[in-house]
């Protein structure tokens, strides 16, 4: 029951991972910063659930698309785990983004004419 609910929160499979990778491509970050970053970049349109973020990060770690390091945050002097994108992660991101764009294009092409027929 829980798991099915969790899945419905996802935008679509892979979207969260893509956004995490894109954020990390700009600069390494810890989990909290990632949430903040995605929220800001999307103008608060997207709320990243921590319940999805951490498992997603673990999956990316497992797939060697990101790597992590425990460092002490200079501002708060706490031990935090900072994630960084790897070369494989970069390649994966490129592939995923182009695939996503093609998909989006396709979706638009399907939706576009439908709207125009409705309008006319």
């Amino acid at each position: 029951m829980q798991t099915s609910e969790d899945k419905s929160r996802d935008l679509f499979p892979g979207a969260l991972e893509m956004m995490i990778l894109e954020s990390l491509r700009r600069q390494p970050a810890h989990g909290y910063a990632l949430v903040q970053h995605i929220q800001q970049r999307s103008n608060n349109l997207l709320q990243v659930e921590e319940g999805s973020l951490y498992p997603a990060l673990q999956r990316l770690l497992k797939a060697k698309l990101v790597k992590s390091e425990w460092t002490t945050s200079p501002s708060t002097s706490r031990r935090v785990r900072v994630y960084e994108i790897t070369k494989a992660g970069l390649r994966h991101l490129e592939r995923e983004v182009s695939r996503f764009e093609r998909m989006l294009e396709g979706i638009q092409m399907v939706l576009g004419p439908a709207r125009s027929t409705q309008n006319s």
Partner: protein, 907 residues
Amino acid sequence: MRSLRRFAARLANLVTGRRHDQRLLEEMEQHLALQTAENLRAGMPSSEAHRQAALKFGAIGAIRERHREEQSLPFFENLLFDLRYAARMLLRTPGFSLTAIVILALGVGATTAIYTVIDATLLHPLPYPNPSELVRVEDNLPGVGAQHVGISVPEWRDLASSGIFQSVAIAGQGANVNLTGASQPLRLSFKQVTPSYFAVLGVGAQLGRTFNPRDNTPGYNLEVVVSDGLWRREFGADPHIIGKALLLDNDQYQVVGVMPRGFRDQGSTSDEQNVDLWLGAGFAGVPFAPPSRSYRHQSRIVIGRLNPGLSVPAAQARLNALVESLKKQYPADYPVQTAWAVRLIPLSETVVGGIRQLLFLLFGAVALVLLISCVNVANLLLAKASVRAREIAVRQALGAQRRRLIRQLLTEVLLLFLLGGIAGFAVLFSTQHYLVRLIPPSLPHENDIAIGWGVLAFALAVSGAAGVIFGLAPAWLMSRVDLIGTLRQEGRGSSGSRERSHLRHLLVVSELALSLVLMVAACLLLRSFWHLFQVQPGFNPERVMAVQTWLPGPNDPTTDPYQTPAQESVLLREILRRCRTLPGVEDVAIGDEAALPLGHSSPARLPLLREGIETMDNQAPVIDSPTVSPEYFPLLGMPLLRGSLFTDRDRDDTPQVAVINQAAARTYWPNQDPLGKRVRLRLDTRGLAGPATPVWTTIIGVIADARTESLADAAIPLIYRSSYQHAAKDLAIFLRGHLDPSALPAQVRQQVQAIDPTLPVFHAQTLREILSDSLSVRRFSMELVAFFAATALLLAGLGIYGTISYIVSEQRRDIAIRLALGAQRGKILNMVLRRGLVLAAAGAGIGLVGALLVARLMAGLLFGVSPADLPTFAAVTLVLTAVTLAASYIPALRAMRVDPITTLHSQ
């Protein structure tokens, strides 16, 4: 491949999982701290800041759980968790766990013990390469009702060149030979075999060689192969034994090989398997009769190795064609009316054929015990279910899935069963030396019964399978709890309990039924044994001892000092005279081994040719023929019915005489007076057979039937001949009187060796001992089945006791109300006892039907009692009812003594 790698990674996570999890937890806590700090900055009070952060984050536990599920093997992790939990649960109720484990250990241990015997006998009967190619060749003359008539040497050669077999061998059955030259003459068991023998078995020597299969020596080739046992025992494992000479029955043989350790000869008894020596012989020259189709080698067996890929039926078909063509080619040797036939039997059949039924019986009995012990444990589990209903309800209320609950309960049950299985195996393993000694030596393959990995695997498999079968239902029912009702009423009146009590009743009834079946089987066996034990053997074994000796039979008859009956009777009369002087001895008689009641394994069977009826050996029925001295019948108390007995005046040169038993008279001279009839018995001994021209033997007397061949069979035809007219090599000296069994063997040896120092004296036994040995396999099976039945009864009693106790405790409140309303305490007692009786009646009803079926199946093992013996069935039912009543009585008393006030107060 990828999934394999993932599996390996997850397996590694299983080990490192905890550290990993710790890190994730720390990371998430940091996240929360950052969020809280952010909220504080936004102006929230500190408690609210933390609360909002936690709310936004969601359930940490769920995230961890999800992460773990992705990263690890939930199956194994759950298993480990379940196992830990199960171990804790078992330890929490040590009384219950111990009881269940002991019950299961009993069931699994007993089953495994019997399986061990079956594994060694039925499953691996032949310790030779490609055992399925090995067959026994049996010649029969169904036309005259003669079985196992033996093969003639020309027939053997026909078989060898038929293209059906890789090789064929004739083997003499185990017999005696004297090894002289050492301080004491030794009697050894040997087999005379054609040189192809070891080629058939496919076993080579560990030292030296076996016989050359192409050796064509007609008589003995004067080569000997010795067993590993003899080599170690008598020759101190001398590595230079090859080429040494052994003096066997006064002939010199050369040792050519030593068989490997653990080599076991074929045969169905341990006597046949534990042979000391093998002598190579062609069976076609001195001291054997010249080869002839009419000369059959009785009491020798033929074994062959079929060509690879040839099935037994296909080989049989080709053999039948061969037999037909031989019959056409030699019509004089194979008269039509005898219907000569040759049958192939898989060698494994001949090894285990006789005891198969017995082993199946034992295995059936032990399987019932296992079933009953499993049922008992299932019952205990159900009882525990009601106690644990609350725990399970709480867990379900907290969100545990039903499947998960069943799995966990099943793990618990499986752990219990496996522990029981391991305990049973451990007991078996540590007591194996003691247990093997309980097996009677006449059971084949006693030596190979070993407890090893295969047996452990069997024990674990059996307990695992039993655990799944008998654990599923309780686990299923346990997980079906009415949540609200259970939590509110603490497990009382929950909807599962009705189903559970139904199942419990069913289990108890089946337990009772199964134990009734076992008890009936045990009682029938017990009565059979008792009848056999009580049967009038027809001879008097009291105060009689038999001591055996063996006269050497050299290959050259002219060097034999006891060649003719005249020569031997001098020795016999002297032995008799000297033994009569021994202290306490009243009567002495002498006979050959066949005259030893119940004590001989391979009867010497001879063709019986009646004057005017049969003219050839090939047409004649075979008959057991002991030779005895005149004192034999009076000494054993076998009464003469008609005619006369042998006397001291019977000699080589007086007319040949014979005494027959009633069975022989009935079988061969029905409605006639056998006295004065003349017969011929062809001899097949190691010495050259009898006089050149066969003489007629006249029947002079008829004695009453005695069970000297088998206690179970009274009417086996026998023809006795006088020791003074027929030389026998295998002698038994019978002594009667006030004997000292410990001193007598030495005294007899002294007397015999005073006459001839080369004669060994061995196997001194009282007839009572021989009698009881002959029943050893029956006694063994009876005792085992009786033990199993007693176990079953005990377990069934415990089951009844548990069930009735449970019912009483469940109905405590009910009983208390009845009592409070004025019910008589006696009525309460009756009520509970009636419950037990109803269960017993149901169990007995089903059990009686099952017992009838089982008894029908084991009819062949019974003696003097019908499979549907009414007294047995009645008595067993009565005993079962009595046990049920006794087991119900204690809880019934408890019910009667319920104190209404305290009971109603406490609930």
